[in-house]
Symmetry: C2
DNA sequence: CACGATCATGTGAGCGTTCAACCACTTTGA
DNA sequence: TCAAAGTGGTTGAACGCTCACATGATCGTG
């Protein structure tokens, strides 16, 4: 304890007071310099800056947060980050947040239980986030988060529909409709569907778009096969499709399953697109190199991230006018879709 | 200003003092309860807990950090999060960190300049991380980060070689060697290589393993084609391979490029594996559904994450004994590799 | 039955910021 | 000439927690 002074000097990083002493001003003046207050003379400002670099000072974020109660951080809860869509959304929000001057803390929820979600939100709250972006397309998850009534703004960014508030998304119904109409336009009488899991809003919406396209033409939709986003499920759906000779076109709710469908068709010896046309959804970077190159629906994720962050910033600024911001996807036509073989 | 009291009471979230008052104890006792100190009687503990839930109290992390100077957070700087390997590593470290009781803050570096990297580290330092995990396989990036001489431990987790300190990784050389030897064992006289970009340590190491395998047999390696991890680059390499009739086997440094190679071979009409065998690296979830199903090298990412975090925790505990922790990959044989066609 | 242990709790300082209030000194304008 | 307004600074009190230490019970022990 006699070496108290030494110990104290040992490794503590320099504080504002140290800088102030060095520059011969008060700590408050240092604070002003750091916060770009105009109320400080040019030469003192320079003296302070010099002291800062000499001491290698860096401002303590915790103390600042404690005093201001504003962290400059927004939280994001995601699920299924191994899937293409969710991971792209996470990346885009993070990037857009950075551009807007926010740190984005992403928490991936492993199991989509109520508890798991609550934990994720709790951990974000512990990190003092100023707002939370929820990117979980699971239906129950959405309603749960809404029911949490958090003291900070919550913005949705996946599985968004017209009824939502404070939500940014890409119009899944429209995308699916475009894909399906593309196939119908080519002359197919109807289009089969390989869907995603029914408890994902996005799966439901893509199914909806597929249905709408048929309705708009007054024709009955083709058969519907349940998938779970995985290539495996696409593969087994593909085998069943290959068996039924009357299916000439399939809309597959994501590219990974479409890959499985393609494989099944190859194995059975049905050619794509000559015998069966296939359209996917996502436009993963590999899609152009599937065999054959996959026609699919592309989503503008960077744009989505920006819109989500924009919404968040507005909510943070006190704007409470509910808003839904749906961006449009677009169809990328490649080689896996073509006109049906004439009978 | 006259309504100062009201304003103060307005929205401030409850503090330890509030809980203490409510439970009829001192703030310190509340702190003890929160930190599971044994020095508190069971009934007071319950009273405090009750007060906590009644008030909806949650402990202020900033204040805690300010007092303890320990954030319970480790930072991670990643690059190329859109690629399979890097994103898996990021996810696995995050998950392993959580299990070890740490928050993991991931920062994705977009451009791998010195400045970009410095910024990323700066931002992590601002977040008061206790250690930094660097998952950037770019050669220059590695040396740069090492030269930074940060006041906190730095652990490497990608592009790791035998000469490193405090590093966890998967043995890339071994993986590539296994892939190449598999092909040689099948009877191919030599194996061609589609490599990754030369400034990625991992690309260099996979090339090294490919070379070693040939050397061990005393045969000359096949031709080498430069790629950049993208399916496009694999595709154009594939076209060149298809043209040279004497190449019967290719080792492709990642699965995405392997997909491109497969496509090129299909287009030219060379069958896989009858005419050309192809082996990839990564074992992406889709690999089993490529056409044909891709033989490839799988890496145990969750294990890698655990080891990296373990190393970090040990470094945090003051251990400075340098350590390199290389896990073994394993070969997954599927349909894209087979014996050469007899001449 | 007084007397150190041990247990359970309270007290006050300190972490490094920002914020509100205040001060001294200059300029302005009627 | 003097009040008002602006400029460039200082001072001290928060913010909500933990740490070191003090204190008051309770208890076994010689």
């Amino acid at each position: 304890m006699t070496e108290n002074g030494q110990r104290e000097a040992r490794r503590r990083s320099p504080s504002m007071a140290d800088v102030a002493a060095r520059a011969g001003v008060s700590h408050q003046t240092v604070s002003r310099v750091l916060n770009n207050s105009p109320l400080v003379r040019e030469d003192t400002r320079e003296r302070v800056h010099a002291a800062i670099v000499e001491l290698g000072y860096r401002r303590n974020a915790a103390a600042r947060l404690l005093a201001t109660n504003r962290s400059g951080r927004i939280g994001m809860v995601s699920a299924h980050l191994a899937l293409y869509g969710p991971s792209m959304i996470a990346a885009s929000v993070q990037e857009a947040g950075r551009e807007a001057g926010y740190d984005v803390a992403v928490i991936g929820v492993l199991e989509l239980s109520e508890q798991g979600l609550r934990d994720a939100v709790d951990r974000l709250l512990d990190q003092a986030v100023e707002a939370i972006v929820v990117a979980v397309a699971h239906r129950d998850a959405l309603s749960l988060v809404r029911s949490l009534s958090l003291p900070i703004p919550v913005v949705l960014v996946q599985g968004v529909g017209p009824g939502d508030t404070m939500a940014a998304g890409i119009d899944q119904v429209l995308g699916a409709r475009m894909a399906t109409e593309h196939l119908l336009d080519l002359g197919h009488r109807s289009v089969a569907l390989v869907s995603g899991p029914a408890d994902w809003t996005e799966a439901v919406q893509r199914r909806e778009g597929w249905q709408q396209a048929h309705e708009a033409r007054g024709v009955l939709p083709g058969p519907e096969l349940a998938g779970d986003w995985s290539p495996e499920s696409g593969y087994s759906a593909g085998l069943r499709i290959a068996r039924s000779a009357d299916v000439s076109a399939v809309f597959v709710a994501n590219d990974a399953m479409a890959l499985g469908v393609l494989k099944a068709l190859h194995e059975v010896g049905r050619s794509v697109p000559a015998e069966v046309s296939v359209v996917g959804f996502d436009d993963v970077p590999e899609a152009a190199f599937y065999w054959p190159a996959l026609t699919t629906v592309a989503q503008n994720f960077p744009e989505l991230g920006r819109r989500a962050v924009d919404l968040t910033v507005r909510a943070l600024a006190g704007e409470d006018r509910p808003a839904v911001d749906l961006a449009q996807p677009h169809l990328v036509v490649r080689e896996s879709s073509g006109p049906p073989r004439l009978p």
